[in-house]
Each structure stands twice: as C-alpha cells, then as structure tokens.
C-alpha cells in the first residue's frame, strides 16, 4: 500500500503543487494569526522548522528566531528562497535534520495530504524526532466538520481553481485587488470578505438548486481501507456510465502495476461521474468500509465494480483554502479537468460538457481559462479529535497540550517529551 500511497501523493499533491506554484501570489498570503502568535512566542535565538513551508509564508515572522523551511515542491521552495529564506527540498517522511535540532516545528496544512494513516503517523514522528525535548510542534489540518459544509467522507480530491471569479457583491465594492489565483490558507482575505460583506453569507443568496450544482469535490475511498475490487456495490443509476471508463481503466491497469492502475481508475472515475452528477449524486454506499488488508493483485480484475466512492456536487461554501473565492454564488470554475492521458480522452470530453452545462446555468462567463491539467488535490480531512488521538495513541514522544478548531482547521500543539524505554 505504501507504493500506492506514494503514487497517489505524487499525482495528486506533489505534481499539482508544482503546477500551481506559479499562481501563488505572495501578497495574498497572510499567516493564520494563531500560527503567527506561536512563532512570536518563541524565545529569541530559537531555531524553528516549517515543514511543508510552501512558498515560505511563515518564514518572515519573528526576526529574533532562526527559521528553516522545507518542502517537497521545488517551485515553491525556489520561491521561498528568492524571498531570502533558508529552505531545503526534502520529504516530510524523511527529514534531513539531526535529532533534537529544533526548538519548535510547524506543520501547517501538510499532513492532510498524506494518503494513509501510517504515513501521517510517520510524518508526525519524524517531526517529533527533530524537536528537542521541551520543544513544541504546531500542526494544522483541514477539518471534516465545517460550519456550513459537510464533507461526507474523509478522503477527497479537491480541484484547484486558478481563476475563481469574484462575486458580484465583492466586485461592486471595488474589491478588484483580489487577485484571481487560488492559494492555501488565505485567511486574511477570508476575514476581509466576512467583514465587508455580511450579505455574502454562505447559503443566503443561493437557491438550493444552485447550491447543489456548485459543490465540487470528489470523494475517494481511503487507501487505508483496502480497495476491494470485488465487493463494492454501485448505485444502479451510475453503473452504466461507469462501465466504459472502468474498462479503460482495467485495460490500463493490466499494463501497469496494480497501484498505478488504481490511481488511473480513480481519476477516470471522477470524470465519468461528472456527467450524471448535476442531476443526482453518484453515491455509492458501502457498509463494508472497514480495513481488511487485501492485496490489489489478489482481489482480481474487478471489471464490474468500482473501487472508489464518488460524489460530484458543487458548493458555494468555502473550502478552508479557497475561502474568499468560494463565497460567491455565481461561479465555481473548479471544473474537473482530468489529466489528458490517452486513456482518458473520453472523460475529458465529458468534462467539457459539464463545463458548458454549468455555464448555461447562468454562471458568469469567465470559463475561458480553465486548467487543462489535472489539478485535483488529495486531502484526508480530519474528524474532531482524530489528530489528537493519532498523536496520543501512536506518538509517545509528543504530549498534546492544546487542541482547537481554527477557521475550519483542526489544530494541535504538542510538546516533545523524553520517553524512557524500560
């Protein structure tokens, strides 16, 4: 499973960030206040690591401490370096730092990109290793429970939209300074939007029909629960539409290793679901979602069945990192454009028809620039208490100090403790 997990992260985290890195606009980046506070509280002369620093938005805070950033995405790391920060390219699962070298570590919106529980634990343990005893770590991850939206599943793919348009209300208020690119954790914009425009409140201006059309993300089965190719139930309405892409996928699967094929199947299935999505949810309920380890290979050729559960809705309720842009009702240009691989030509066309469907529904006409590449980001959103439990049950060297919900993120602050093994 680790191979499949790595591959999933390569396709739907690393390569996506590499592609969207140029769109990240630093002027729109503001630090989450509590993270900023955490940094400002560090003693002068402290050495702090930001693991998964992105383009370095936290690295300028507090001149009295020495900060190191690292990330796996080269364009983002280069961007951080050009701002004068000390950064390295590395993998969160294998940090190139000595044991106990840091007084504090940040992990902001990072481990929710890890596709299995085991990898998430490993990432936390790695960071704990680099913390000195008494040092503190702050971890932020996306919450499953959000004020106005409910992720029905924890493992999801979220499309990235480079050109989310402004809502009419915001435009009127001359808020044209909002640049059109997306970013993660755009907290400040979110607050600005909230304060200036009480009328642009989630759900208020949106009719239920529109609302349903505008939610947009894909659910996947967690890689932790094994993809059992033989025992899934598929809702009747969608099984026929899924036939073709599944065949394509199974063809391609036979050509590749099972893990790659799995990923392809997932991707092809997202696009295939879009055709039916606007009218109904493609929702596969599988009561047998428990973990039972089962090798992909051994579970056979699952030609008739679907390995993932997919829902395709659109929502105007903001995602934690698309906050300011998703608040408007008129558009959601996060059209799913699947990677233009040869096995997916057909799904790509279906995507475009989805796009035109959305347009004709009266959405604003900014659909001319759509990402041609797949910009599906994988997330495992966390339930309340999940992160805390993960640490308490699996990371002895960390002692949880605080847990709280911050703007749709679960946050944990923990301290490194000495563990004596008898």
């Amino acid at each position: 499973m680790d191979e499949a997990a790595s591959q999933l992260e390569r396709d739907h985290v690393h390569s996506v960030y590499e592609r969207i890195a140029p769109y990240f606009n630093d002027s729109r980046y503001k630090a989450w206040p509590k993270v900023k506070q955490f940094l400002l509280e560090q003693e002068p002369g402290s050495i702090v690591a930001d693991v998964g620093c992105g383009n370095g938005k936290y690295l300028h805070i507090n001149e009295d401490i020495f900060k190191l950033g690292c990330d796996v995405c080269r364009p983002l790391v280069d961007s951080a370096w050009s701002r004068g920060h000390e950064v390295q390219l590395c993998d969160g699962l294998r940090l190139p730092y000595r044991d106990g070298s840091f007084d504090a570590v940040l992990s902001i919106a990072v481990i929710h990109h890890m596709s299995t529980k085991e990898r998430r634990i490993r990432a936390i343990k790695e960071m704990a290793r680099t913390l000195r005893v008494g040092g503190r770590i702050m971890i932020y991850v996306w919450a499953m429970e959000q004020k106005r939206r409910k992720f029905e599943k924890q493992d999801i793919f979220i499309p990235w939209n480079p050109n989310p348009p402004l809502s009419p209300a915001l435009r009127q208020r001359g808020n044209g300074t909002q640049s059109v690119s997306d970013d993660c954790d755009s907290s400040d914009k979110h607050r600005k939007v909230r304060s200036i425009s009480s009328m642009v409140d989630e759900g208020d201006l949106i009719s239920p029909g529109q609302q349903k059309q505008q939610r947009l993300w894909f659910f996947s089965r967690s890689l932790d629960s094994v993809l059992d190719f033989t025992s899934l139930t598929v809702s009747r309405s969608s099984s026929s539409t899924l036939q073709t892409p599944v065949d394509e996928a199974s063809e391609s699967r036979s050509r590749r290793t099972s893990s790659r094929g799995l990923i392809r199947q997932m991707s092809s299935l997202f696009s295939s679901s879009s055709r039916t999505s606007l009218e109904e949810d493609v929702f596969i309920s599988d009561p047998n979602e428990q973990v039972h380890k089962n090798d992909n290979r051994s579970s056979g050729n699952g030609n008739e069945t679907v390995p993932v559960e997919l829902v395709h809705d659109c929502s105007a309720v903001p995602l934690p990192d698309l906050v300011s842009y998703q608040r408007d009702q008129s558009t959601l240009e996060g059209h799913m454009e699947v990677d233009g691989k040869s096995s997916q030509q057909e799904p790509l066309q279906r995507q475009e028809s989805t796009a035109s469907l959305l347009e004709s529904d009266g959405m604003s006409g900014q659909s001319s620039e759509q990402p041609k590449d797949s910009c599906l980001r994988y997330y495992h959103v966390f339930r309340e208490g999940e992160l805390t439990q993960l640490i308490q049950n699996h990371v002895d060297e960390l002692h949880v100090l605080h847990t709280y919900l911050d703007h749709a993120n679960w946050c944990v602050v923990a301290e490194k403790v000495q563990v004596w093994k008898v």
Partner: protein, 112 residues
C-alpha cells in the same frame, strides 16, 4: 544554504549511523551582510553542534556572551556566508546532495 542551516542537516540515507557533519563542497559562495544581534547569536550558540563549527576554524570559547568580537565572528560564519552552488556529501555513504540556487536538495530516491 547558510552555515547555520548546515549545522542542523544530516544525511538520512538508510543504514547511515551518523550522517553529519555533511562535507561541504562549494563551487559558488556568497557573503551577505546581515544585521548583527549579539543576544541572537549568543542564545544560538548553545544550541549548535559545535564540532561542526570547529571544523570551520572557529572554536567555542568560554564566556562567549561577553566577547563581542567572537560573537561577530560566529555571526559572520553562520549567517553571512552562503553556499549558493555545490553539494553536501554524506560522511558515511558518500552520497552527494546537490545545492543549487542556494537550496540543498535532500530528497532521496525510493530505495535509499
């Protein structure tokens, strides 16, 4: 890569027991000017792995907090000198991690 950063780094190749100090092979070095802060440097000093810095011809002296000349020297070495191009070599395995445009690439391939 500043030399202060180098102090934190280690080779994490599988099987390596002690992957530091990484041997610095620099092909391009830059020296920046950075505002000196005695409290910052003196607080930093106890956190460092001094064996790495002694290798740079700088030994830790007692009572360093009061010695501004010493602190300035440490400041210059750790914070103002920057390796822009070159590589870091693992002292045990010999594996080289490239530094390009000031950024060390510490990514390992799958089986390392």
């Amino acid at each position: 890569m500043k030399l202060l950063t180098h102090n934190m780094l280690t080779s994490h190749v599988q099987g390596v027991i002690k992957g530091y100090p990484l041997i610095i092979k620099a092909t391009e070095v830059k020296v920046n000017e950075l505002e000196f802060s005695a409290p910052f440097v003196s607080r930093m000093i106890p956190k460092l792995e001094w064996s790495l810095i002694s290798a740079l011809n700088c030994t830790l002296i007692p009572d360093y907090e009061k010695d501004e000349e010493f602190l300035r020297k440490v400041h210059r070495i750790l914070l103002e000198v920057e390796v822009v191009e070159g590589c870091l070599q693992c002292p045990e395995s010999g594996r080289e991690f490239p530094i390009s445009k000031g950024v060390p690439n510490m990514l390992l391939i799958e089986d390392e």
